[in-house]
C-alpha cells in the first residue's frame, strides 16, 4: 500500500493514479505531465483527466469504457512517469497580480490560532508568488501553493454553506480565490474584485495550471 504509483478506483466511473503524497511543485509537475500522457491516450469512454496535487483522476463512462484494460494502461503510464526524472517546475508561466482587501471574516480567528497579528498574516500571504498547481473544485478555482508554512491551518470541521465569490482563502499549505459563490471549508482572509471565471469568456478560466499568482494588498 505504501509504494507509488498506485492505481485505485474512485467509485465505478473513475480511476485514480496516485504518484505520491503532500503538496509540492515538483510532484504537481509530475502529475501534470502524467495527465497530459493520459489525455494523449484518448482511451474509449474516457471523458475527463483531472490532475490534483498528488493524483490524476481518469473519469469514464462505465458503460462505454473497459475499466480493467484502462486500469492496466493507466498503471503502465504512471510507472513510466515515475521512472523519468521530474520535469523542470521552475519555468516561467503567466503572472497574474490580484488586488486583495485583507478583511476576510476568518482573518482574526486565523491570526489568533497562528499567534500572529492580522497584518502579519496578510503580509506573509502577499509576500510569496504562488504557482497555479492545478484547477479544480469549481470553475476557475486554481489551487495555489505552496503557502508559507507559518500560515498552515486545517480546514474548518464543517464547510460553510456559502462562501462569497472573490473570497481569498487558505487551508493547509494551499491558498485560492473562490471564483463563484459555493459552499467551502477554507478560511476566508480577504477579498478580490478580479473575475476568475466567466462562461462567456474564451477561455472562461483566468488561471491555467502552471501560471503564477501574486496577491497585492489594497485598502
Amino acid at each position: 500500500m505504501t509504494g507509488y504509483p498506485r492505481v485505485v478506483p474512485l467509485g465505478d466511473s473513475a480511476l485514480l493514479a496516485i504518484l505520491g503524497e503532500g503538496v509540492g511543485v515538483a510532484l504537481s509537475a509530475r502529475v501534470g505531465r502524467l495527465a497530459g500522457a493520459l489525455r494523449d491516450l484518448a482511451a474509449p469512454g474516457v471523458h475527463g483527466v483531472v490532475p490534483a496535487y498528488a493524483a490524476v483522476a481518469i473519469h469514464f463512462d462505465p458503460l462505454a469504457a473497459d475499466s480493467e484494460a484502462l486500469g492496466r494502461q493507466v498503471a503502465h503510464l504512471a510507472a513510466a512517469e515515475m521512472a523519468k526524472p521530474a520535469p523542470d517546475a521552475t519555468a516561467g508561466g503567466k503572472l497574474h497580480v490580484l488586488p486583495v482587501r485583507y478583511d476576510g471574516p476568518d482573518l482574526a480567528m486565523v491570526a489568533d490560532r497562528l499567534r500572529l497579528a492580522p497584518d502579519e498574516v496578510a503580509r506573509r500571504h502577499a509576500q510569496l508568488t504562488y504557482r497555479v498547481l492545478f484547477l479544480g473544485f469549481v470553475p476557475g478555482f486554481g489551487y495555489l501553493g505552496p503557502l508559507d508554512s507559518a500560515l498552515a491551518l486545517p480546514r474548518r470541521p464543517e464547510p460553510r454553506r456559502r462562501v462569497p465569490a472573490g473570497s481569498v482563502a487558505i487551508a493547509g499549505e494551499q491558498t485560492a480565490v473562490y471564483p463563484v459563490e459555493t459552499p467551502g471549508g477554507w478560511h476566508l482572509i480577504g477579498h478580490t474584485e478580479t473575475v476568475l471565471f466567466d462562461s462567456s469568456r474564451e477561455p472562461p478560466n483566468l488561471l491555467a495550471a502552471g501560471d503564477r499568482v501574486r496577491f497585492e494588498p489594497v485598502s
Partner: protein, 309 residues
C-alpha cells in the same frame, strides 16, 4: 414555447450534463436522477439526452403554447393537465393553451417533466444543463421564475409510449444505497468501516444540487488530520472532520479535501438524490461487479423503452 405561469420554489433546465469539461473544473451538472430523465424523454419520443425541467420543493404551473407530449417521472405528483387529473406513469398530450398544474410532490425530491421536442435553450459548453454556482446553462444560468418562457425543439412524429413501465413508479425510498469503498477508506480505523456503513443516516437540511450532507445516527466517527485536496467524483462519500458525511452530486466539485471513504454506485445516484431532508439512508457495501451489473440493467430498461416496448 412554454410559459412558466407559476414557478415552483426550485426548478431548472437539465439534460444529462456536460461531462467533457472536468479538467477545467466545470462539474458535469445534469439531472440528479438520470434514469428518470432518460425514461421521460424516451416516452415522449425525444432522444434520451434532451433537456427537460427538473422541478423540486412544491407546486407550480406551466402553459403550453403548442401541442406536446408530456411525461412526468421521478417524484410522484398530484396535478392536472388541461383540467384532467394526471395519472402516475401515463404519458399525456397537451393541446395549445393547456396548463400543466403540479399541486404538490407527494413522494421523492425531483420531478422531471419531459416535453416532446425538448427544451431548446442554447447549449453552453456542450450541454443545456443549468449550473447554478457558475451561473450558466439552462435559462440564463438560473432557477426558473414565474413569467419565464422556454423555447421547445421540433417534436418527433409521436410519443413512443402511452404508459411508462411500473419500475419507474416504484417506491425506492427505503432501498439500501449501494456503496463502494473509497480511496481514503484506509484512513478509517479497522472495524470502523463496518460501523460506518451499517449506521442509519438521515438526509440533513443541508442539501443542494452539489451534494447532500447526512446526519449520522450513531457513528460519531471523527477522523484526525487534514489532507490536501484530491480528485472527487459524483457519488463520492466524503467524511469531514465533523463526522457528518457528504455525498457529492451533479454540481459537486471535481476535487475536495475531505476523506473520500466511499462512493455511491452510479446506478443508485438517482435513488439517493430522490431522498428528502429527514429521510432515512442506509448503505450496503458492494463490489464493482455488482455496481456495473446494476447500471447495465438500467441501461437495458432504457433500451427497451427506446424500442417502444
Amino acid at each position: 414555447m412554454i410559459t412558466v405561469l407559476r414557478a415552483p420554489p426550485f426548478a431548472t433546465v437539465q439534460d444529462p450534463g456536460r461531462p467533457g469539461h472536468l479538467e477545467a473544473a466545470v462539474p458535469r451538472a445534469g439531472a440528479l436522477d438520470p434514469l428518470a430523465l432518460a425514461a421521460a424523454n424516451l416516452a415522449v419520443g425525444n432522444p434520451r439526452g434532451a433537456a427537460a425541467l427538473e422541478w423540486a420543493l412544491g407546486g407550480g404551473e406551466v402553459r403550453f403554447e403548442r401541442g406536446a407530449s408530456v411525461a412526468l417521472t421521478g417524484a410522484q405528483v398530484t396535478g392536472t393537465l388541461g383540467g384532467r387529473a394526471l395519472e402516475p406513469l401515463r404519458v399525456v398530450r397537451a393541446r395549445p393553451g393547456d396548463s400543466l398544474v403540479v399541486e404538490r410532490l407527494d413522494r421523492g425530491a425531483w420531478l422531471y417533466i419531459a416535453i416532446s421536442g425538448g427544451i431548446d435553450v442554447p447549449p453552453v459548453l456542450g450541454s443545456r444543463s443549468t449550473y447554478l454556482p457558475g451561473g450558466f446553462g439552462g435559462l440564463s444560468g438560473r432557477v426558473l421564475r414565474s413569467g419565464d418562457r422556454l423555447p421547445l425543439g421540433t417534436e418527433a412524429t409521436q410519443a413512443r409510449l402511452e404508459i411508462l413501465p411500473a419500475e419507474l413508479g416504484a417506491d425506492t425510498s427505503s432501498n439500501p444505497i449501494r456503496l463502494l469503498p473509497g480511496p481514503d477508506r484506509d484512513l478509517i480505523p479497522p472495524g470502523a468501516w463496518d460501523d460506518l456503513v451499517r449506521a442509519e443516516y438521515r438526509v440533513s437540511r443541508v442539501v443542494s444540487r452539489m451534494g447532500y450532507r447526512l446526519e449520522a445516527g450513531s457513528s460519531g466517527l471523527v477522523l484526525a488530520g487534514d489532507r490536501p485536496s484530491a480528485p472527487a467524483c459524483i457519488g463520492t462519500l466524503q467524511l469531514p472532520a465533523g463526522g457528518k458525511p457528504i455525498v457529492l452530486l451533479g454540481d459537486g466539485p471535481t476535487v475536495g479535501g475531505y476523506a473520500r471513504i466511499g462512493a455511491v454506485v452510479t446506478a443508485d445516484l438517482g435513488y439517493f438524490a430522490q431522498r428528502r431532508p429527514g429521510d432515512s439512508v442506509r448503505f450496503r457495501p458492494v463490489e464493482l461487479t455488482e455496481a456495473r451489473q446494476a447500471l447495465r440493467e438500467q441501461q437495458a430498461l432504457l433500451d427497451r423503452l427506446e424500442r417502444g416496448a
